[in-house]
């Protein structure tokens, strides 16, 4: 049975690093572990050995139980067309300008691609643990909503909106512009743009059954996963983390922990400089103490307001560049729910 861990949160909080660090710990603890990342920093990619890799998981040269894969969202979107449409329609979709735009613009598309790929790895049952570093879109919430949104997109909701009623057959479609509403649109856009879009959506709709079924499979995988939300103590990522307590209940998965990254030592909050300390160093301690206090207040408020399990990871000034560095990062952590990822504490 493969255990799944989803690492979510806003961009720039160190999600990928936390995912990688957990993976190294698990692999060194004897679990066959796959870490799936999206767009890692170069030094981290080097540490994981995924610099030149694509969607295919590869074992690490120095750590045989550690596997890594990097996600390519655009490739996964093309796969939606080839997997779920007739070859002729799939080819037409693949070089359709609207298909490219929808895959770029549809807010959930990168998240869908990532969720689809991650679910594939979990279903392969080739690893004890699959750790997924999710795309930051929507603070990570999009990842959970993506399968349903995707089915909705191809299911014809947009098409019905354009036609303003029941779905027409392909032939009836060309008379659409006779409708007053669409005449206005034509005059604004100065072309048959709406018709071209609707025709594309008719093609896309043929993938509906496949996408809807796959969406339900993906949702089952996500629902059985352990979720960690990573944040710093800054207001913007904390706002995103709060969404998991306000919006996620509807999506069935409750986070096992909120991991506050880049945490300063608690003791600094009350520390004062001994007599004889230079003014420069005294002021330096005072400002970092103020920062420590702010971090603590942020955590306490989060925990009391949302009842979340809070874990912390110490601020490491230089990002880890190798497997040992990644493992050390979690030696400086506290209250991580190790048992949720199948490991013993420490």
């Amino acid at each position: 049975m493969t255990r799944t861990v989803l690492i979510t949160g806003a961009g720039g909080v160190g999600k990928t690093t936390v995912a990688a660090a957990l993976a190294v710990k698990a692999a060194r603890g004897g679990m066959r572990t796959l870490v799936v990342t999206v767009d890692p920093a170069r030094r981290l990619a080097t540490a994981l050995g995924v610099e030149e890799l694509g969607n295919e998981p590869q074992p690490h040269v120095d750590e045989p139980e550690l596997w890594a894969a990097m996600l390519d969202a655009s490739a996964s979107w093309r796969a939606v067309a080839t997997r779920h449409a007739d070859p002729e329609v799939a080819a037409r979709l693949a070089d359709n300008e609207f298909f490219r735009a929808a895959s770029e613009h549809f807010p959930a598309s990168q998240s869908y691609a990532a969720a689809d790929q991650a679910a594939t790895f979990v279903q392969a049952q080739a690893w004890d643990l699959v750790i997924v570093d999710t795309p930051p879109s929507g603070g990570g919430i999009d990842f959970f909503a993506a399968p349903a949104q995707m089915a909705d997109l191809v299911g014809g909701r947009l098409l019905r909106w354009i036609t303003g009623g029941p779905l027409p057959g392909r032939r009836a479609f060309y008379n659409l512009a006779a409708k007053p509403v669409l005449r206005i649109a034509d005059s604004v856009l100065g072309s048959d743009l709406l018709e071209r879009v609707a025709e594309f959506l008719l093609d896309l709709r043929t993938t509906y059954d496949g996408v809807a079924q796959r969406g339900r499979e993906i949702e089952r995988v996500l629902a059985s996963a352990t979720v960690f939300v990573v944040t710093t103590s800054d207001p913007a990522p904390v706002r995103e983390a709060i969404k998991f307590y306000r919006e996620l209940p509807g999506l069935a998965v409750s986070p096992a922990a909120v991991i506050f990254n880049r945490i300063l030592p608690e003791g600094w909050a009350e520390a004062t400089a001994p007599p004889g300390t230079s003014v420069v160093l005294e002021q330096n301690l005072a400002r970092w103490a103020a920062e420590t206090l702010r971090q603590r207040d942020t955590r306490e408020e989060f925990s009391s307001r949302y009842g979340a399990h809070i874990a912390t990871i110490r601020w490491s000034p230089t990002p880890p560049t190798d497997l040992d560095g990644l493992a050390r990062l979690l030696d400086d952590s506290s209250d991580l729910p190790w048992e949720a990822v199948g490991m013993r504490a420490g």
């Binding site: 806003a10 961009g11 720039g12 909080v13 920093a41 170069r42 030094r43 300008e97 609207f98 490219r100 735009a101 929808a102 613009h105 549809f106 930051p136 997109l153 947009l158 098409l159 909106w161 354009i162 303003g164 509403v181 669409l182 649109a185 005059s187 604004v188 856009l189 100065g190 072309s191 743009l193 709406l194 879009v197 594309f200 959506l201 800054d234 207001p235 913007a236 706002r239 300063l264 030592p265 600094w268 520390a271 400089a273 001994p274 300390t277 230079s278 420069v280 160093l281 330096n284 301690l285 400002r287 970092w288 103490a289 103020a290 920062e291 206090l293 702010r294 601020w315 000034p317 230089t318």
Partner: protein, 281 residues
Amino acid sequence: MLEKRFLLVSGKGGAGRSAVTAGLALLGQRRGLRVLAMEMGSPGGLSAHFGTGPLEFEPMEVRPGLHAMQMVRSDALLEYLALQLGIKGITRFGPFARAFDALATTAPGIREIITIGKAIWEVREDRWDVVIADAPPTGQLGSFLRAPVTISELVPSGRIRTQAETMQEMLRDPSLTELVVVSLPEELPVTETEETLAWLAKEDLVAPPTVIANRVLDELTDPDTPPGPVGEAARLHRSLWSEQQVWLKRLPPDHKLPYLHGVFTPGEVAARMADEFETIT
């Protein structure tokens, strides 16, 4: 920066875009300018910095002389149709609005052109001396700035195309528009900013941007490391500082904003940003 009529503030997510937007808006207000601050993306950041409740599409006065608004695409579209095209009687939930929503999800450039169109409409209004927009993050900046070109390619004729061409000229006019890119002296933000700058230079869609590095630490002038928290704090500060130097050297910014230690509320952050801008612009 405040000599321009239109400031677009972008940057990597989490670098402090909203704080910089709010800081610049407060500085403009202190200097007696009539300012409109505009949240283009999802709500939350800008209103927190001004300490108001949720912003609305209709600009509200958040300080004397400083207005703020939230972009709402469906409202912007209706306003565009009514004011610029003279098409009245369309409601937010009517069939036209829904059809347009479908288009905005599917056709490239549509959703962006409505957002930029609204901003540029306000820039041309005599009501404001400067419009400062909390623009999409650098990851989405490409499709955003390219929208007028995309529309021109997609739509061979018609009124929306004519207007797209006007927008393109205004974005490119360096006496009118300035793009501000907010970055952090860390690996990923610097890499993303470099990619954005290279792309911008190639595409020539907007005048060369101003780069701001946020959360920059100063150098500790005392090299001592005594035992206890004093020394630990000094050691952390020094290693963060030298890590930052690597990235500041790689991408020298036009302006630096300091790390704000222990500043609690977004309102305080915005006020401190405005103080800093006072010294550099």
